[in-house]
């Protein structure tokens, strides 16, 4: 057994309102630069829909991830090492810019410089690649809220598996949002397909990163990643990917997408896993077995033997303790309500999802029945085969049984908690119907519905005695080069700020200290606590 720690995420899809705040804040932090216009480390897809880049899930076409060869051994779907190098001059499975979209801006200048004329001047869209007028025909969320799905919806690769049974007529449509980031896989095919070896998985927390100095732009990893979360920066000629906001994680803060999530649906925490058993689990013959196989790779952080091995592996005490409190562990292995995205790609993804019950609830309420009664919900789960097959196509390689189970648990929680909230008598049979106790349901409810910041994000900081080695405290940020992912975003004070973590109620980026007699600048107040100068101290003249 070799214990490794992995920073992981779970998203509760029922709560996603599709606001794209996560995508925007992520872009603002990491990829708001020329050459990375099409790069969305975090994107939110409406499902059913084609996703981003379009139809990325169709691995017959894009050849991402791993498959098993005839002898049952793992191999890269795009081909082995020889094939990789033989196709280096022209990658046969590379998405083109049009599979993303042609980035554009608007000719705003025309609005102020156009001569006086009868018609309002307009700001025409201009291609950022050619500088010429362009027509906007696609973007990262063009099919948001099923827009245009009558025309495009049938291209959804998962729908094709389900067999085109879903109608896109407005009344019959079901939809939900799927926010996606890099999965920081345990068996990352991006790392495996990089000819140079520029991509690596961090030993300490499993975050997968691209060394920008070693990347040579061979762009084979873009094909390798089945989730298409490797993005080629067409200006720098290097590949960039979601960093799991490692500079924040290292100081115990959640990723930007989690921090700013409006639905508060993201959970962050550690998972311990046995590195020695990853390959075997990823080689499970039956695709339907992959979900369970991956769960078996995880190690119970409360098991004394695991703790002993973790110490032997030099995992610090506070990390072990954080792993024991990890909401990820609870959601994946205790309540078993979180499922992996596309386990059939065999990369062992580490961003998991609680599938949405809302299509079921909506279907029941539309009939006018009580959508909080267990029996109605259970009957609907049995009846609504298409949404459930669709969810299974996303989360369990098409096996509906685990999805069924999760949805039943969520439905049971809904009705059980309704009784409590209404002040009615609790009905233990509801809990028993899904093999849980009332207390377990209440605990799960607490975690899913009302968990506060520090319960949702259990992030042990990287070790301070290691701090001089951490990237973000380097006197000069290595990412701070023109076109680099840091590009002026961080400076030396980031992370080295003595106020950091002291919860002063004031943003730590508050610039110069408050001069004597001057009240607080509200723009710098983060909304927590009552810092000095927020209220007049009585001596202030009115």
């Amino acid at each position: 057994m070799k214990v490794m720690a992995q920073m992981a995420m779970v998203m509760n899809l029922d709560k996603c309102i599709g606001c794209h705040t996560c995508s925007v804040t992520c872009k603002q932090v990491w990829t708001n630069k020329s050459g990375a216009e099409h790069v969305w480390f975090n994107n939110v897809e409406t499902r059913p829909g084609q996703g981003y880049p379009r139809t990325y899930e169709d691995q017959d076409k894009w050849k991402g991830g791993w498959t098993l060869n005839k002898r049952g051994k793992l191999k890269l779907k795009a081909g082995g090492r020889l094939k990789n190098l033989a196709t280096i001059f022209s990658n046969p499975n590379l998405p083109g810019i049009n599979d993303y979209y042609e980035p554009w801006t608007y000719d705003y200048e025309n609005l102020t410089t156009a001569p006086a004329q009868d018609h309002m001047p307009v700001a025409r869209p201009k291609s950022l690649l050619t500088g010429e007028n362009t027509e906007i025909t696609w973007s990262s969320n063009w099919d948001d809220d099923l827009a245009g799905s009558v025309e495009h919806g049938h291209n959804d690769p998962i729908l094709k598996q389900v067999g085109d049974k879903i109608k896109f007529e407005y009344e019959q449509a079901f939809m939900f949002y799927l926010p996606r980031i890099c999965e920081h896989c345990l068996n990352p095919s991006c790392v495996a397909s990089c000819p140079t070896g520029a991509i690596y998985k961090r030993e300490e927390d499993g975050i997968v990163l691209v060394d920008q100095d070693r990347c040579r732009g061979w762009r084979q990893c873009v094909t390798g990643c089945p989730y298409k979360k490797m993005y080629f920066n067409h200006k720098t000629g290097k590949v960039e990917k979601c960093t799991f906001c490692y500079p924040r994680i290292e100081i115990g803060q959640p990723t930007i997408c989690s921090e700013t999530c409006v639905g508060r649906l993201r959970y962050l925490g550690l998972m311990f896993y046995d590195q020695d058993s990853v390959l075997e689990a990823a080689s499970t013959t039956d695709e339907h077995g992959l979900y369970e196989a991956q769960r078996d790779v995880f190690l119970d952080p409360k098991d004394p033997e695991v703790i002993r091995q973790a110490r032997l592996a030099d995992i610090p005490e506070d990390w072990i303790e954080a792993a024991q409190r990890s909401p990820i562990w609870s959601l994946i292995n205790e309540y078993k309500v979180a499922l992996p995205l596309h386990p059939e790609y065999r990369t062992m993804p580490m961003v998991w999802y609680i599938p949405p019950l809302s299509p079921v609830v909506d279907a029941v309420s539309e009939t006018g029945e009580d959508a909080e009664r267990k029996d109605n919900l259970f009957a609907a789960i049995d009846r609504l085969r298409i949404p459930i097959e669709y969810l299974a196509g996303l989360f369990t390689a098409g096996d509906t049984a685990p999805v069924d189970k999760v949805l039943r648990k969520l439905a049971a929680m809904r009705s059980y908690m309704r009784d409590i909230n209404m002040g009615w008598e609790t009905n233990e049979s509801i809990a028993e119907a899904v093999g849980m106790t009332g207390q377990e349901i209440k605990d799960m409810y607490r975690l899913l519905a009302i968990a506060k910041y520090d319960e949702r994000y259990v992030i042990p900081p990287a070790h301070y005695e290691d701090a001089h080695k951490l990237e973000n405290i380097a006197t000069e940020c290595s990412l701070n080069v023109d076109g680099g992912p840091g590009m002026g975003g961080m400076d030396a004070s980031f992370g080295a700020d003595p106020n950091m973590g002291a919860d002063p109620g004031v943003s730590s980026y508050n610039g110069p200290a408050r001069p004597e007699g001057v009240r607080i600048n509200l723009l710098n107040w983060n909304g927590q606590g009552t810092p000095d100068g927020l209220f007049p101290d009585g001596n202030d003249k009115p």
């Binding site: 090492r81 083109g96 300490e204 701090a467 006197t475």
Partner: protein
């Protein structure tokens, strides 16, 4: 007797260019690793690149191997192992011509898309243009050499090759070059100039051909400790020690 111009062209100029070539690569590798890439344009245009780029590369790599043999291996060695001049000549010309044609057809494809695909044109730098100009001259004149080798009677293995090796022996023999046919002179000069340009263009990517891929495990792990913002710490930049705060 070599004139002053000859000495400059066939002695001074090569040494200047090769020095720039070596130092340029060292400096660039050290200070601009981030710029070290092939700057793939496949995302912009795929249908021409699909055939042209492999053709060009397989061609030019074969040409490279040919040059190593033709310039690097003295005629006395091949004579010694009993390869007749005619046999060697026939092989060099036929394989060379095939590789040359591959290269040039690929190059034409690449140039066509550079010029006529708007997205690719938009991403083309001045340096790219200069590089393609030099590359074009070198490849074209090289192909002329191969052609003239088939009909003419100049034995480059007793002229140009000896001169080329003499540069690396630091025992230069510039007097061998004025007698070479014009196309050989142009080819040699343009190639030498291209070497000086090399470290400042995307051509640097050729030196990091990822052959290590065959010998490494698929999944790589790195400790935070092993690197620091991915650059090695430079002398004089050791960090101030921090007091351990917690464990």
């Amino acid at each position: 007797m070599a004139t002053v111009l000859d000495v400059f062209l066939w002695l001074i100029f090569p040494y200047i260019c090769l020095t720039i070539f070596v130092l340029g690569h060292i400096v660039r590798y050290r200070y601009d690793k981030f710029g070290w890439t092939s700057r793939s344009s496949q995302m912009y245009e795929d249908s021409i690149l699909r055939w042209a780029n492999p053709m060009f590369h397989f061609g030019i790599l074969a040409v490279f191997v040919g040059h190593v043999m033709g310039l690097g291996i003295p005629q006395s060695w091949t004579d010694a192992v009993g390869i007749s001049h005619e046999a060697y000549h026939f092989m060099a010309i036929s394989v060379g011509a095939l590789a040359g044609v591959f290269t040039i057809v690929g190059l034409i494809g690449l140039l066509y898309r550079r010029r006529f695909t708007k997205l690719v044109l938009g991403a083309t730098t001045k340096m790219d243009k200069l590089m393609y100009l030099m590359l074009g001259i070198v490849i074209l004149s090289g192909l002329v050499n191969t052609g003239s080798g088939a009909v003419g009677d100049y034995n480059y293995r007793e002229g140009v090759s000896v001169w080329f090796r003499s540069i690396f022996y630091f025992n230069p023999r510039p007097e061998l070059m004025p007698d070479a046919p014009l196309s050989f002179q142009i080819h040699a000069l343009a190639a030498i100039a291209l070497f000086a340009l090399w470290p400042f263009t995307r051509l640097v990517h050729a030196f990091t051909a990822p052959l290590g891929y065959f010998f490494r495990p698929y999944v790589l792990y790195r400790s935070r400790d092993a690197h620091e913002g991915s650059r090695a710490r430079r002398r004089g930049w050791d960090k101030v020690d921090t007091i351990p705060r917690r464990r």
